[in-house]
Amino acid sequence: MVALLQAVFSGLALGGIYGLVALGFSITHSTTKTFNFGQGEFLAAGALIGVSVVLMMSGHPITAALNPGDVTPLRYGIAVIVSFAVLGLFGAILYFTAVRPFIGLSGLAWVMSTIGFGIIIQNTALALWGPTPIVMGSPVGNDVIRIAGAGILPQEILVLFASIITMVLLDIVMRKTRFGKAVRAVAHSRNAAILMGINVPAIVVIAFVMSSGLAGMAGILVVPITTASVFMGLSIALKAFSAAILGGLNNPRGCILGAFLLGLMEALIGLWHAELREISIFLVIILVLVFKPEGLLGQRQVEKV
């Protein structure tokens, strides 16, 4: 029972991370029908940049080891913001170099080019930080909190809160603001949006900035639970994409639902047979694709013949 509660908490924290990345997939897919296949590398870059920001603020070079007292909430907060901002910039570069030249072309050239961009980011990161994982403590302490006997890491609670707040904010922005309405208009029909005077190119760039920024933020948030490394991103990004498919790629709320379901599933299966975690998740996704390809909350796209 205690173990179960513990697994539920870490599952929710994982779900928060997946949710942020899944939202990133959703926002670019709904506006451009493309998304970043290098999102995992972006996430890793966000994590490494965030860690480096904390290191620099504590007066260390970026390859040094962190002392337990170095990670203060203020520094960590700044690191999250810097990660979001730098990765957002990467997102804009990604859009102009890897996505825009191929939008509207047949084939999936943008899949290749975004993977290529990711590989370049990964190798640059490898040259800067090396392959060894970097350990960083949590800004809210590393002592296990006991709730009903279950041990929970403070960072898990922080991740859960931070991701839920971000998701709620994003939901409000998308539903209430002019910008959000413009994004949804572009998602619905690019041409109609242009005719209504919406600056579609700007919306699309912002979509990529937000998508990559969210990935960077997710990266620095997850570091105190796992570690920061060049290779940390691929499996998180894959599961986040699975979450988006599970919930419905074009429905942001669906993506969040899918993310938490997937996080819980992963944690609970991990409790039973740790080595089956990934395999079972991907099997579930294949089943979902077979029986409900539009996802739990997604709308089936009807092709006009």
Binding site: T34, F35, F37, T97, A98, P101, F102, G107, L108, A109, V111, M112, S113, I115, G116, F117, G118, I119, I120, Q122, N123, T124, L126, A127, L234, S235, L238, F241, S242, I245, L249, E275, E278, I279, F282, I285, I286, L289, V290, P293, V302, E303, K304, V305
Partner: protein, 614 residues
């Protein structure tokens, strides 16, 4: 002539493969030759999947692993003969190819790419974490290499062997892609709906393409494991999947593409091995900019230069045909007695949420008749056509065609039974020649099988010749004979419409559904269309025509069915429909003067159509 040329090419290739390993005894160079062969072998199958069928897979390292671990486990644990184990690796890989193809039924494009990544990752996790069987990073030693007598292959023999395999793959896949299978793959790539509508099983051909690519990747894996006599989980990485994909994308869509790609990238790989940090960086840059600079890959670049050097050479490989001596007659079109029920639909319903485009519609089509389906925009005409042709499944109701219940059949099966269709928004295979478009329509009538086409057996060649003649005959009938070798996309709009009708006719249908064939045609072309429809009727083919041009409908129809808001509101002979008050109301609204309705129907509705379809 072309036979001789091919023979010379093959002989030259054999000589090159024979001499190359003899030119050096430097182990490093021999290893590079071997790697070029292995990479080419993997890429040759992947080329069919990625470039011809248009399915991007990012998980083929997983299939490589399947082949490698099959020989490793069979030879070390079960002491199989290395040759038998090598063959088994292809079979097992084919089975896994089938598994990875299963999601292809439901997802396409980027989601499928993600699924294949997931497949690759799962295989990678299994071989690295299931230590008892696959020995993880430590790897399996003592994999038994291929041998002659009891002597394991030496470095030169390995190059010869892989060169021979590569040549076989090149010749068989080249022969496959040239014939009906190649056209079917290309059709699936260009338009899945159109492929289904001419009787090609989209799912079947996707699965076949996955299996072909799985077999060649599996053999590559087996070769690596047997040549190294070792395999470990370190070989199986996401980068390997990307490397394979890079070879075929970089090589380009051509049977020579993978060869060019494999040579250039293997050499690059070997060259950059000294600076590992630059190795992946280069792949990244190639992926990012390669398709931007060379959208058709290396082979596209080469053939582009070749084309410039000798202008006017014929790319499609077919040269001038003699005009066919006989006029075309469909294969399976029997001169049936007229007025028999060909197709009957009972109580069809289809709803999309609150929109109900088909509401309890029943209809009956008689052999030898031209039936027209008319109604205001949004009346549900196209939806009804989609239901009849199997593209949309009805919520309820049933359809009987040629005394067979086809309600639940997939579209390609319905097409093979004898129901062809055209599309309101043209769905031609735009990258193919007009002739190939029509030959794609003949696909299901060509009875040669996979092996006959792989091995270029006489049967498949004869079928191909017959298809050429039949396609020419159809093009003569449609007045397109002089455009046979042009790209379909290069034709003017009116002719493209005729190509689509020609392609539908090629399936030898009993029933032809035409969805607004006159949309976008000028008056001259519209008149020619009437002649074509009448000619089709004379061939004994029953027609169901959706049309807004009332002059066509009134000129050719034997029977008119009128839909409004998804319901059938009238049917009968054209002159009956012309005077039917419900029809007039549907088109023009209530409270109209019935006296001058004859006139207004034809003109008013044509305007209606023009206004909303422009």
């Amino acid at each position: 002539m072309s036979q001789l040329k091919k023979l010379i090419q093959i002989s030259l290739a054999i000589i090159a493969i024979t001499l190359l390993p003899l030119s050096t005894d430097n182990g490093f160079y021999l290893k590079i030759f071997f790697m070029i062969g292995v990479n080419y072998l993997a890429a040759s199958g992947l080329n069919v999947l990625v470039n011809y069928t248009g399915q991007k897979s990012l998980g083929h390292a997983g299939l490589f692993a399947v082949g490698a671990y099959t020989v490793a486990l069979l030879t070390t644990r079960l002491s199989w003969n290395p040759w038998l184990a090598f063959l088994a690796s292809g079979v097992v890989a084919a089975a896994f190819g089938l598994i990875i193809a299963l999601p292809a039924l439901r997802v396409r494009g980027p989601a499928l790419a993600m699924v294949t990544i997931a497949f690759g990752i799962v295989v990678e996790k299994i071989v690295s974490e299931w230590q008892d069987v696959f020995a993880g990073q430590q790897g399996i030693y003592g994999v038994v290499p291929l041998s002659i007598g009891n002597m394991p292959f030496n470095a030169q023999q390995w190059v010869w062997f892989v060169g021979g395999l590569g040549l076989i793959a090149h010749l068989t896949l080249g022969s496959l892609l040239k014939g009906k299978y190649g056209r079917a793959f290309a059709a699936v790539n260009a338009s899945e709906l159109a492929a289904e509508s001419v009787g090609i099983s989209v799912y079947g051909f996707k699965v076949l393409a996955f299996i072909i690519s799985a077999v060649t990747c599996g053999f590559s894996g087996a070769l690596i494991a047997q040549q190294n006599q070792y395999i470990s989980s370190d070989f199986i990485t996401f980068s390997l999947s990307i490397f394979f994909l890079l070879i075929v994308l970089f090589g380009g869509k051509s049977t020579y593409g993978p060869l060019l790609g494999a040579i250039v990238l293997t050499l690059l790989d070997a060259f950059l091995a000294r600076w590992p940090e630059w190795q992946h960086f280069t792949y990244g840059a190639l992926l990012l900019f390669g398709l931007y600079i060379m959208p058709n890959g290396l082979s596209g670049l080469v053939s582009g230069i070749a084309k410039k050097l000798k202008l006017g050479s014929n790319q499609s490989g077919v040269t001038n045909y003699d005009a066919p001596s006989q006029a075309w007659r469909g294969d399976t079109i029997d001169q049936q007695t007229k007025n028999e029920t060909l197709l009957s639909a009972q109580d069809l319903c289809k709803a999309y949420g609150g929109v109900v485009p088909t509401h309890h519609v029943s209809l009956e089509l008689k052999t030898g008749h031209i039936h027209s389906l008319i109604g205001p925009n949004g009346a549900g005409k196209t939806t009804l056509l989609n239901i009849l042709s199997g593209i949309v499944k009805p919520d309820q109701g049933n359809i009987v065609f040629l005394n067979t219940a086809i309600t639940k059949w997939p579209a390609h099966k319905i097409s093979n039974l004898g129901l062809a269709r055209t599309f309101q928004n043209l769905r031609l295979f735009t990258d193919m020649s007009v002739l190939d478009n029509v030959k794609t329509g003949l696909h299901a009538r060509m009875k040669s099988g996979l092996w006959a086409n792989l091995l270029s057996l006489p049967n498949s060649k004869r079928q191909e010749q017959e298809a050429n003649v039949k396609a020419q005959q159809i093009l003569v009938l449609m007045g397109l004979a002089d455009r046979a070798l042009d790209l379909a996309a290069s034709l003017p709009y009116g002719m493209q419409r005729r190509v689509e009708i020609a392609r539908a006719l090629a399936t030898s249908p009993q029933l032809l559904l035409l969805d607004e064939p006159a949309a976008g045609l000028n008056p001259q072309e519209t008149h020619e269309l009437i002649d074509i429809i009448v000619a089709i009727k004379k061939l004994g083919i029953t027609v169901l025509l959706i049309e807004h041009h009332m002059d066509i409908v009134m000129a050719v129809s034997d029977h008119v069915i009128v839909l409004d808001y998804g319901q059938k509101i009238a049917e009968g002979r054209p002159e009956e429909i012309r005077n039917n008050t419900r029809v007039i109301t549907a088109y023009l609204g209530e409270d109209d003067n019935a006296a001058d309705s004859n006139d207004t129907i034809s003109h008013g509705s044509a305007d209606l159509a023009g206004g909303t379809h422009a």
